[in-house]
């Protein structure tokens, strides 16, 4: 009983990239434990995704009408049963909104302790410990989960995506014993924030705006679109209702680690830094030379963002 079960995440039938990072973490764990890697896919009509997952692990498929819309209440028992059947003592998913909502419920069913946003593994051999951030990333902790089964969500930016294997894993259906009539939660609707831009957590470049935009994101979005970047924001900008909630980068928003992160009109509060300090190159554009963001930025420009961003955009355009 030293196997690993990864929970796959889908959006309208297609696999989310974060899952590949969870599979990367899962295969590292399985190697350490000398166990097998399994992945479970849940939903309705997910045959194609299940097939795609065979390139990474043995696949368990929970395909049933009752699982059409994700609900923690209906998914948790299926994942917990599958973990038992697969003799998995580690259950892992990406630390996305889905993973964070679902896995604690799975953990409760398995009488397991859980670590959120795992950054790396420590310990010796099969005695695995988990490194994770606390206090908005001000502190890193090495934690041990003192239960037979251990549940984790991993931070996708900290683990490489699993490579496709030459051999195909097996596919096995799992029984779904969820009675729709017994559920206490009902899915009503999903209001998607449609965007032609790359996903924030997967983009190579992110341009973010803060309170310094005073609600005018035109230049932030203009530069982003010129370079094919995703757009992010500080909490202040989101709270004001200037941009969608799911643009928030930080301790309590999304964690990003692009090649390039440009922060415009963002002061650099620790809660914001928690979500972007893993970026390879950080640029700060801020009017205030003493803004804390400059202490961490690789390149700081003391300037008005409404002047600097269009100039930078013109440079990008001219170089094309």
């Amino acid at each position: 009983m030293a196997n690993v079960l990864v929970v796959a995440e889908q959006h309208s039938g297609s696999l989310r990239k974060a899952t590949l990072h969870a599979l990367g973490a899962g295969s590292e764990l399985a190697r350490r434990l000398g166990g097998k890697l399994h992945v479970i896919a849940l939903g309705k009509g997910i045959g194609k995704m299940a097939d795609e997952l065979r390139a990474y692990a043995d696949v368990l498929v929970a395909d049933a009408p009752v699982l059409e819309h994700y609900l923690a209440e209906s998914y948790a028992p299926v994942v917990a049963d599958a973990a038992r059947a697969a003799q998995a003592d580690h259950v892992c998913a990406a630390a996305t909104a889905f993973g964070k909502d679902l896995l604690p419920r799975v953990a409760a069913r398995l009488s397991a302790a859980m670590a959120t946003e795992v950054l790396s593994f420590g310990g010796q051999g099969a005695q695995v410990t988990f490194r994770r951030p606390m206090w908005a990333g001000n502190v890193l902790a090495e934690v041990e989960l003192a239960t037979p089964v251990k549940v984790i969500t991993i931070r996708p930016t900290e683990f490489p995506a699993a490579p496709k294997s030459a051999t195909q894993g097996s596919v096995a259906p799992v029984a779904v014993g969820v009675d729709p009539g017994s559920l206490k939660t009902r899915f009503l609707e999903f209001k998607e924030v449609k965007s032609a831009r790359p996903e924030l957590t997967e983009a190579r470049v992110v341009v973010s705006g803060g309170r310094g935009t005073k609600g005018d994101f035109k230049e932030v979005e203009g530069l982003a679109d010129e370079v094919g970047a995703a757009v992010g924001a500080s909490r202040a900008a989101v709270d004001a209702g200037w941009v969608p909630n799911d643009w928030q980068v930080g301790q309590t928003g999304k964690v990003v680690a692009p090649e390039l992160y440009i922060a415009a009109g963002i002061s650099g509060a620790i809660q914001h830094l928690a979500g972007m300090k893993g970026s390879r190159v950080i640029v700060a554009v801020n009017k205030d030379p003493d803004a804390p963001i400059f202490q961490l930025a690789d390149y700081g420009l003391v300037a008005d963002l409404f002047k600097a961003l269009p100039e930078l955009r013109a440079k990008v355009k001219a170089s094309k």
């Binding site: 948790a76 302790a113 859980m114 994770r132 502190v139 902790a141 206490k184 909630n245 700081g300 300037a303």
Partner: protein, 267 residues
């Protein structure tokens, strides 16, 4: 239909405080650190107050921790909650343990709704509400939010973000998820956790603070609840994260462009 609401209140380090690790990695330096009610729990208390203002009912605050947690309990009572329970426990806590204790309180108090924060800003686990819902076999709606912005007129009117159904048997919750907002209906009793955009918590008024001093805070030793108090998430060591070496300033956009394009090759 009046609602009985259990709302959780955790004492945490002030998010404005500078957190440092002790040289031996056994904990954080607490000298000079201020404490306050976990910001997400403030939002939970505010939501409970708005629901009570609209539907009537009672708000019970629950906290698990040492004697000092009374300060944060009083803060929640000063905002307007009715009474409180402090489950006294000086040892290490984790979501497994906290949710087991909260489950006992729910069995005793039988609230219609339990509102927690989505995350404690010290351990950043984001687990307790979900564990609790599963333990109790209840529906959950985490990351509760609302459509109107915190600067909107609707927010000025202090309307709750959670919508109670006409028959009083369920609530509709808008959740912040990846890629948008999701709407769920959850039968009562239910567990809800709060996200940042659910509301702007009120400040306690002076009369509120005075009244809070007289409100009941019932202390229960954790040992009395019949819960296994062994921590399962064991923090072995704390350490400082690697610091980035930043601090280079460029003179103008021209220089920035050269650095990004020619040197770092990221644009």
């Amino acid at each position: 239909m009046p609602l009985k609401i259990l709302v959780t209140a955790k004492r945490v380090e002030d998010p404005e405080s500078k957190i440092r690790v002790k040289p031996d990695g056994s904990g954080i330096v607490t000298e000079g650190v201020n404490y306050k009610l976990n910001p997400f729990d403030e939002i939970a208390v505010e939501e409970a107050l708005r629901l009570k203002e609209k539907h009537g009912g009672e708000i019970v605050v629950a906290s698990i921790g040492g004697d000092k947690s009374v300060t944060e309990i009083r803060a929640a009572l000063a905002m307007g909650a009715d009474r409180a329970i402090l489950v006294k426990h000086d040892g290490a806590l984790d979501p497994v343990l906290v949710s087991a204790i909260l489950a006992k309180l729910v069995e005793r108090e039988k609230p219609d709704l339990v509102i927690l924060g989505k995350q404690s800003i010290d351990d950043d686990q984001n687990q307790t509400g979900q564990y609790l819902a599963e333990r109790l076999g209840l529906g959950q709606a985490t990351n509760a939010s609302k459509t109107e912005s915190l600067e909107s007129e609707a927010e000025q009117k202090k309307q709750p973000g959670l919508l109670l159904s006409a028959d009083g048997k369920s609530v509709t919750v808008l959740r912040e998820v990846d890629g948008g907002l999701e709407k769920l209906e959850v039968s009562l009793p239910a567990v809800v956790t709060t996200d940042l955009r659910l509301n702007k918590p009120r400040f306690a008024s002076l009369p509120g603070i005075m009244k809070a001093k007289k409100k009941e805070v019932k202390e229960i030793p954790a040992n009395d609840l019949g819960v296994d108090l062994t921590p399962r998430v064991i923090v072995k060591k704390l350490f400082e994260p690697p610091r980035r070496k930043g601090g280079v300033k460029v003179a103008d956009v021209n220089e920035l462009w050269v650095k990004l394009h020619a040197e770092a090759k990221v644009l």
